[in-house]
Symmetry: C2
Subunit: 447 residues, 2 copies
């Protein structure tokens, strides 16, 4: 909070030159953190003191809502200058994210060339590899020398998003090679490109899923990944910075799904009440309906509950602990599947491992709950405590195995275990846990 | 599975030349996916057909256990050649991850220079920015021309991890500027570096947390981030590929913590039974003990349960739905805090929004459960259904508010909400949910 107060104070106290040097020394992360708390006047003041490049960086980092608010405040002339500096892929994202009204004014301010590039990118699905790409890359022919390639790079460096990979295309625009700028610089001047280029180019198709493209770029530590059509013609490149955004978004989606929600990643404070309800109510409804079947299981054991009230008292503890054990093993499986460290063909090895783990944990927890219920209120008899403890051990074993099996099966069937396996599995565990609990307690207590 | 069978078949059928071209056309991702399933002979066969660069890439991508297994199989002479090709930061990670016995043989195979560099990096904490850095970067003085800088880069490009940022240091090795290779290439040959370099260098200190360093590199879309000591002397640089690994690991940690486990990120299949138990049992114990307090709440309402068995039947449904609502709002808060889109100073705005959302969701779920319990078995009276429905509505509102408040408070107090807020919050919700449920049902049914 101190920095926010400092910014405010400096805006009032300092003259433009000093404020400028203060603002331009602030890390972009700090500015972003406090952006929401600034008044429109403060935003505009700070913005006006940045140079064009910093302005473009700031706009590209703001959320859609913040971008729009800012754009509405600055003059058309100024917007034009800024838009011209943005990379085509960032510009396309920006156009897709602003409201229809603002979009119009943005569009009218674009140069003819930018309109053409953006129109080209707007054709692609946001979630495809092509939706991430920029059409501004360096491409050369294979029959030129290293020296002329270097001079080509020096001439065109300012027009492209990255100069660090240079692509080699044939007369049909098909991608036939790639050379890194580093490789180019260490090669002798007179050598031909075709003799130094890497012919085995790793690329993705325009309709490859963006998460798949991100994974490839990440595995190879590439700075950029070329995107081609089905004729292997080069359409554009995806750069590492766009991939980092995809990784973050994917992460948020997964976390939302594990929290029993729709995975869309709008910002909380900018989302409408209605959108936040839509995000939550479908899963909550499904889970509520599924959970109501526990009433049927319980009503089957009404007689048993009437004869031992202690069994009823432990219902929440039993299903809660079963749920936690199941969540632990399903979390390990879901994450292992997502990072490709676990595969279906390890099924029996995993089940064996989980069974052993669950037995040890089940025994420890069983002993723990027996001690707890005998020593602390509500004091229960040793027989009842034993029944609860032994039943808990069984519940933990079954819950752990369900938690491990469900994600593997769901993944095997081609569905996303993150959505299906989390909370829905909890319901299966509740139902089976209650049944096991009452059946084993019945047996032990001889009721 | 088909690819695995293909690989196997080709290993048996093809001669070395054909197998080589098949293997070298396989994406690294595919090889990694099936690596665990290959026999030692198959691993060795495939490995022997790769060129040195591909071998280094493969080793760097394998898990510690896989690396070690492979290294043990190849001759010392061969290990030596490979180790010489590895970047110092990858090499340091590698040395830290292999077992003590293997480490010795690796260490003995290092060149004197590599030993020196590695020893330098081994001094730093793995979780600090310095633990990620490589000491091999390009550094020049500010009084040379662009042309001589380019020729310096061309001469030394093969010795460093990245050539795309060139750092400018003074005679005391203090970092005074940076220039990207791109900027360098577009500058006229005769200009001095000090006139084109960026003097405002963004860097981190050696003991900056690695996640913080990752966030900075990500915000600015940097390819590399310099690391300095407290005298601003340049120690090394962190490159974007290491940061992507940090992002993935951080993601796994968060997901484990949300699943009520310790956040350490060992691979499941390679972890020992004992390590997997240690990962799970502490939280499970805490949660079990916390959950047992529900027995005390329930025993306080024993009389009520005896007079209306229907109320007992709905216990799992009520606490389950309360838990799900709380998880939804806490997930949104935890994620918002982690991505810095939500701040404590929005507290009352968030609470207001959540109260409105929870009321609407609570009403809908209340109506739903009333309809369900009247229309389907176990058929309950309309009065009992109404009591359950109204109580559920209250439980959802309270659970949602607890779910939203807990992470904000915990974060405000300086703790990690991912660990604290998830499952522990579930216990608070169970306890308050049961109390609210019985109290409101009691009131409505007039018992």
């Amino acid at each position: 909070m101190n920095t926010l107060n400092n910014i405010r104070e400096y805006i009032t106290l300092l003259d433009d030159a000093n404020l400028k040097s203060y603002i331009r020394n602030l890390p972009l992360t700090t500015l972003l953190e406090f952006w929401d708390d600034l008044s429109s006047e403060e935003e505009l003041k700070i913005f006006s003191l940045l140079n064009t490049e910093e302005k473009v960086d700031l706009i590209a980092s703001l959320s859609p809502g913040q971008q729009e608010k800012l754009i509405r405040q600055i003059s058309d002339e100024h917007v034009k200058v800024l838009l011209e500096q943005m990379e085509p892929d960032d510009l396309t994202d920006f156009i897709q994210s602003v409201s229809p009204e603002a979009r119009n004014s943005v569009w009218n301010n674009l140069s003819e060339e930018a309109k053409k590039e953006t129109r080209f990118l707007l054709r692609y699905d946001e979630d495809d590899a092509a939706g991430l790409m920029t059409p501004n890359y360096l491409a050369i022919r294979s029959n030129i020398t290293v020296a002329s390639a270097i001079s080509f790079v020096r001439q065109h460096a300012s027009e492209v998003e990255t100069v660090y990979n240079i692509y080699i295309i044939d007369q049909l625009k098909r991608l036939i090679g790639v050379i890194s700028l580093r490789e180019l610089l260490v090669s002798p001047d007179t050598v031909l490109i075709e003799d130094v280029m890497e012919k085995n180019v790793i690329s993705v198709l325009e309709n490859t899923d963006q998460e798949e493209a991100a994974k490839i770029l990440e595995t190879y530590d590439f700075l950029a990944l070329p995107v081609t059509d089905s004729y292997h013609r080069l359409l554009g490149i995806i750069t590492f910075d766009d991939v980092m955004d995809v990784i973050r978004e994917e992460q948020t989606e997964d976390i939302y799904k594990m929290g029993a929600m729709d995975g869309s990643t709008d910002r909380y404070l900018e989302s409408s009440i209605w959108n936040l309800i839509k995000k939550r109510i479908p899963w909550l409804t499904i889970l509520l309906i599924a959970a109501t079947f526990t009433t049927n299981v319980l009503s089957a054991f009404e007689g048993l509950m009437a004869s031992s009230i202690v069994l009823t008292l432990f219902i929440p503890t039993i299903i809660g602990t079963g749920g936690n054990s199941g969540t632990q093993s399903s979390t390990l499986m879901i994450r292992g599947l997502a990072t490709r460290q676990i595969h279906y063909h390890d099924f029996w090895r995993i089940i064996g491992k989980e069974f052993l783990i669950a037995s040890i944990i089940g025994l420890s927890m069983g002993v723990l709950i027996i001690l707890r219920s005998v020593l602390l209120p509500p004091f229960v008899t040793i027989e009842e405590a034993a029944a609860v403890g032994i039943a808990l051990c069984f519940v933990i074993i079954v819950a752990t195995l369900v938690g491990a099996t469900a994600p593997l099966m769901i993944h095997r069937l081609g569905f996303d275990p993150t959505v299906m396996a989390g909370p829905l599995m909890a319901t299966i565990i509740d139902l089976s846990g209650l049944t096991i609990y009452f059946l084993s307690a019945k047996l032990i207590l001889g009721l």
